[in-house]
């Protein structure tokens, strides 16, 4: 079982019943995870491909969501789709260098759990700091957006974002250190 299974499966089951709010949370959460999953497995410089794969996987999830059996683990289902899309992508573009082909071929195996675990711990820690700085840290430090872009979207100055991220990270560091 992959981390986040219980929350994600609950969201998926509500989505299958037609709950749009649950579906949005699910897709938002999965986008972050899938982005990490694909970026880790494609060579640096192929971030655009990773984003294409994220979208392809979300589309596949949407179109084939009825093939999810609610009595089975959701994350395994999702990782099988992501792994399939990645393998298909690599097959179509054999000439493209990858970060590590051997690793890419075994994406359906549990080596994804490490990244997902880190992802989950991060989500849990991030949940402890205020929403504004949290979103900025996510955008800038995890998704790799520029500070200017994030500031423009939030409607604040770049320095406010910088300070917010700095304070948020310091708060996070404090949380990590006080953990047993």
């Amino acid at each position: 079982m992959f981390p986040g299974e219980i929350e994600l499966r609950a969201l998926m089951i509500r989505s299958l019943a037609g709950d749009a709010a649950a579906y949005r949370s699910l897709l938002d959460e999965l986008t972050v995870r899938l982005r990490g999953f694909f970026r880790k497995r494609l060579a640096a410089g192929y971030a655009a491909d990773a984003e294409d794969l994220v979208q392809e996987t979300l589309l596949a999830l949407h179109a084939r969501r009825a093939t999810y059996d609610p009595s089975k683990p959701f994350t395994a289902w999702l990782h099988a789709i992501a792994g399939y899309k990645l393998a298909d992508h690599l097959r179509r573009r054999r000439d493209q260098p990858t970060a590590d082909l051997a690793e890419s071929e075994s994406v359906a195996a549990d080596d994804v759990s490490e990244g997902a675990l880190a992802q989950l711990d991060l989500s849990r820690l991030l949940a402890a700091i205020p929403a504004g700085p949290r979103a900025w840290i996510r955008s800038v430090r995890i998704e790799g957006r520029s500070i200017a872009e994030v500031a423009a979207r939030a409607g604040v100055s770049s320095s406010a974002v910088k300070v917010g991220i700095h304070r948020g990270l310091r708060a996070l560091a404090g949380k990590v250190q006080t953990k047993p």
Binding site: G18, E51, L59, H62, R64, R65, Y68, A80
Partner: protein
């Protein structure tokens, strides 16, 4: 399109998912394939004479029971392999057990028979055509299954194709039993199984080519 736009679009397009879609779609593929296969058998080969008498014979039930049990395993495997992360292990093991049990039964029949009759029990009169005719009758069912799986989400295409081939083969064998004049269990254990395996090999070959999505 940015990923956020995509998510917006998908959320607005969300409708409650169809329940039981996987099984329903596979059943539809089998039904259409089975109808075509039966039509092929009736026009090309013809059902046996005195079919009613045949239907009450023990060997007919062995033949058709063997084929139907294998088809049930095949259906189970196809249904599992049509879903992402689905594995065909359990149905595969049960299917292999069925083959071994039936082979054991056939072997005991063979050993119990007088030596002079053994060649007849193994080869019958149609050993050379039986597996090929089963594979032929399997073809529409395999096609129906591959069509069904294309609309689902198999992620292990070789396994999925193989399962579709084996299930189509088992259904083809069941249809063939309405024509087949043979009555020895060794014949069935060998040539029916061979026909089913030919269909399985065809599915194994076609899976990665036809099931991509």
């Amino acid at each position: 399109m940015t990923t956020n736009d995509l998510i917006d679009r998908l959320v607005t397009e969300l409708t409650p998912a169809a329940r039981g879609l996987v099984v329903r779609r596979i059943a539809m593929g089998v039904a259409v394939g089975l109808a075509a296969s039966a039509a092929l058998m009736l026009t090309l080969l013809g059902a046996r004479q005195n079919l009613l008498a045949v239907l009450s014979s023990e060997v007919y039930w062995l033949k058709s029971g063997y084929a139907l049990l294998l088809a049930a395993c095949g259906f189970w495997a196809v249904a599992r392999l049509s879903r992402p992360a689905g594995k065909g292990g359990a149905p595969g093991i049960i299917g292999a057990l069925l083959v071994f049990v039936f082979a054991g039964l056939a072997l005991s029949d063979l050993l119990a028979a007088p030596e002079a009759m053994r060649a007849e029990l193994i080869l019958g009169k149609s050993a050379l055509v039986c597996p090929w005719l089963i594979a032929l009758l399997a073809a529409p069912v395999v096609a129906g299954l591959l069509w069904a799986m294309r609309g689902l989400a198999p992620t292990e295409l070789r396994g999925a194709g193989f399962a579709a081939g084996l299930m189509g083969g088992a259904v083809g064998a069941w249809v063939y039993a309405f024509h087949c004049p043979e009555s020895g269990t060794p014949f069935i254990a060998l040539w029916y199984t061979a026909g089913i395996m030919i269909a399985g090999a065809i599915g194994l070959f076609l899976g990665p080519r036809l099931l991509r999505w």
